[in-house]
Symmetry: C2
Subunit: 201 residues, 2 copies
């Protein structure tokens, strides 16, 4: 592909857009052109939204959620059940569970799952912080809402071992989650069913 | 879908990303999360690139191309053949032809094709400006590089009628372009072949 079709500024915009998940080089060009054509209606508001996001968005020090306040809206919501911590690998999974209204508990975002092949070990996840939270007296249940993949289940086993000394019930999502599937791709009904039918680990 | 998962600022970012072609609601969420995680490496540079684009990008008064200079790089390039004007519907088509290095001529961007069903008539296209350009003494050939669709061919016929009094040869792309196909989706070899085999209209 020639890099000089439309000047370096437009090429740079296209290259950055192409790094978004779901956009390849061709769709990034279409997106750039769409933005340029909708300068006032889309490009300017998107730029502002990105600036606001850069300035305001923080990682919650308690649970690892992404929000514009710290601790996050969920951690500070008095209607959320403080006795339940739902462990997810990623914020995308937290969002998926929230869209499904699957739990009234609070969350703990690990940041990833254990993956020896990718060099991701326990020290790369927020497991220590989870163990500390699990020992707080008001916490009675840890729900492992992890992908039904090898890495997800390896992580679940590892966390269960780490929590053996904590006085909490450790549960996991029911196998309504298709084996090999990923949380973020599931429909909300399946997610809700899996949350209802969670079993002792 | 609940709008309150992650605060109004993130929801606004997701909604704006979802308006890009190629991104649906789900992939827009993934894109937003990816941006937030890559704040320094991607979100900040993309914001800057968008700001630069908003400030610098202009529509070329001569040909309708989008560039950071006006007249555009192609119109002011002395190596481009001033005797040839390649007529395209959209800047995306101009980019596709440039990627294929299909012509050394200059361009004329119509902005759209005639489409009675969508209420797009001749007054919505830059046909008057094209006729004026075609009458300039150095111009000897108008190449109609329009989609091989009903609307594209209707537009080609209309433009040919408008150019009857101008002293120019009017050609069109060879039917290497698959009938019903759109320029922007074609591979560069097909585009080059179609440019080489252009026929009298």
């Amino acid at each position: 592909m020639s890099g000089s079709v439309a000047g370096p500024e437009i090429e740079r915009l296209i290259q950055l857009l192409a790094r978004l998940p779901g956009l390849g080089p061709r769709s990034a060009r279409r997106a750039a052109l769409h933005l340029i054509k909708k300068r006032e209606a889309l490009m300017a508001p998107l730029t502002t939204a990105l600036q606001v996001a850069i300035e305001k968005i923080e990682v919650c020090h308690t649970c690892g959620n992404i929000d514009t306040q710290n601790p996050c809206t969920i951690c500070t919501d008095p209607r959320r059940d403080p006795s339940i911590i739902v462990v997810v690998a990623d914020v995308a999974d937290l969002w998926a569970l929230e869209r499904a209204h699957a739990t009234q508990g609070r969350y703990h975002v690990l940041g990833a799952t254990l993956s020896p092949l990718d060099g991701i070990g326990p020290q790369d996840l927020t497991i220590d912080a989870l163990v500390t939270r699990a020992r707080e007296p008001q916490v009675s249940e840890i729900i492992l809402a992890l992908n039904a993949t090898v890495d997800g289940q390896t992580t679940a086993h590892y966390i269960t071992d780490m929590l053996q000394d904590a006085d909490v019930k450790v549960t996991r999502l029911a196998h309504g989650v298709p084996v090999g599937g990923e949380l973020d791709y599931l429909d909300e009904g399946t997610l809700s069913a899996a949350m209802r039918q969670r079993t002792l680990f």
